[in-house]
């Protein structure tokens, strides 16, 4: 299975601590946060990686190159402007012909990615979302019925028991609903559109919290929780 890491965003809330550098390169225990994510994938036998880069793309490409020193192969999908999470995945479409893993470049959750893929295939889902019952407050909440996702909200937990952990399996067909170069977000545009159209979005439920570096406070927590040097 190939993986797409989303690392194109501005990282507005982290600007005060990583001034002038991409947030994905924030130093966490002696290495860039993104390297922790790459090493996590490698640990789960995922070594064919595409990184979607945008803001300060040159710095991320310069940092990881072809990935050889980390034992993986890295290609880059370069956005020339903000496209939103869904737009960024669409822009990387040419790299994927089969179901692929999508993982936010600013979040980290150690789960069985191969089991996630099997779950996706078994359900014949178009998108599978990793849904955690341990709320962390970044990903937006998910309403589910059984394993089927029925609604999203970025505003508070509400009655939902699950939060989006920022890890997905996508079937390439899901991207047909997005126009090229359109600025689209997953939670606000693509997923609600798919639900309305009755497309199969499934939730892969886990009870692990995820780690993220979205805010200075979360970055400090990540430094405590991620592997030391």
């Amino acid at each position: 299975m190939k993986a797409l890491i989303l690392a194109a965003g501005f990282g507005i809330r982290l600007r005060e601590v990583i001034h002038g550098r991409p947030k994905h390169l924030a130093n966490v225990n002696g290495k860039p946060f993104l390297q922790h994510v790459i090493e996590l994938l490698h640990k789960h036998n995922i070594s064919d990686i595409v990184i979607a880069v945008g803001y300060l793309s040159e710095r991320i490409v310069a940092e990881f190159g072809d990935g050889a020193p980390l034992g993986v192969s890295i290609n880059y999908s370069v956005d020339d402007r903000p496209l939103g999470t869904a737009g960024t995945i669409k822009h990387a479409e040419k790299y994927f012909t089969q179901d692929f893993l999508v993982i936010n470049g600013d979040t980290y959750i150690d789960i069985d990615f191969q089991a996630l893929l099997q779950f996706h295939k078994k359900n014949q889902a178009e998108v599978t979302i990793v849904a955690t019952s341990k709320f962390h407050g970044k990903g937006g909440s998910i309403q589910v019925k059984g394993n089927r996702v029925t609604a999203f909200s970025n505003t508070g937990v509400g009655t939902s028991k699950f939060e989006n952990a920022g890890v997905y399996i996508f079937s390439p067909s899901a991207l047909k609903r997005i126009n090229k170069y359109e600025r689209v977000s997953l939670e606000n545009n693509l997923f609600p559109k798919m639900i309305t159209a009755g497309r199969p979005i499934f939730a892969f439920k886990v009870d692990k919290p995820y780690i993220d570096i979205g805010t200075p406070q979360h970055l400090q927590e990540a430094i405590k929780k991620l592997p030391p040097k």
Binding site: F10, L56, S57, E58, D80, R81, P82, Y181, E182
Partner: protein
């Protein structure tokens, strides 16, 4: 004898005519310039350096202010962070030292040589297209692989003739005042599309994104 009001009206009419001509002559180049701003800031976090003489010096400073502060201050955008920009017309010590020791023609080129890197962008403004210090600065930018925008008027002068700028915004007018008004309109438009592309929820369709 002409009345003052007639002169004012004529001035306004001439401005309207120049803006009308800009609709056919300048839209492509202003779009390219806006996209160059986007590229400079988005790809590698570059700085924009601006320069010109007299009224064009004021315009150079005006551009730097739009970039560092913001064009839209009505909170249209959730997170419009400051962008790196520097007008080369403001440090009197540097300007007088270079003018005194090397000559006035070098007041901008010397600073470009010191400050600009390939990831940056320079904007040189000359209503005639013939200001020697603006020409020298654009030349050094080209030698160093720094992308450039030239803002000129009339026939674009030497800047147009020798293609000294990667992107040329030439205002189709003869009068200096009207050319300068065209420059202000052009850089406001550049900043407007840059902010819309980088900071709005919806983005913007442009020629390069089909």
């Amino acid at each position: 004898m002409n009345t003052a009001k007639t002169r004012i009206k004529n001035q306004i009419k001439s401005s309207i005519q120049a803006y009308e001509k800009m609709l056919t002559h300048c839209v492509d180049s202003i779009e390219q310039a806006g996209l160059a701003l986007v590229e400079t800031y988005y790809k590698d976090g570059g700085t924009v350096f601006t320069f010109g003489n007299g009224g064009s010096a004021a315009d150079a400073q005006h551009i730097a202010d739009e970039l560092m502060c913001m064009l839209r201050n009505d909170h249209t955008y959730e997170s419009r962070f400051p962008l790196s920009a520097h007008a080369l017309t403001t440090d009197s010590s540097v300007l007088t030292a270079i003018a005194n020791d090397l000559g006035y023609d070098y007041v901008f080129s010397r600073q470009i040589e010191a400050l600009a890197q390939p990831k940056d962008l320079v904007i040189g403004i000359s209503t005639s297209g013939n200001s020697e210090n603006v020409i020298k600065a654009l030349e050094i930018a080209k030698q160093r692989g720094v992308k450039s925008i030239g803002m000129t008027g009339r026939d674009g002068g030497k800047i147009a003739k020798h293609q000294l700028a990667d992107i040329l915004i030439n205002i189709p007018a003869q009068d200096v005042g009207i050319i300068q008004q065209g420059h202000v309109l052009a850089f406001h438009s550049m900043c407007d599309i840059m902010e819309e592309i980088l900071f709005s929820d919806k983005g913007l369709r442009t020629s390069s994104s089909a």
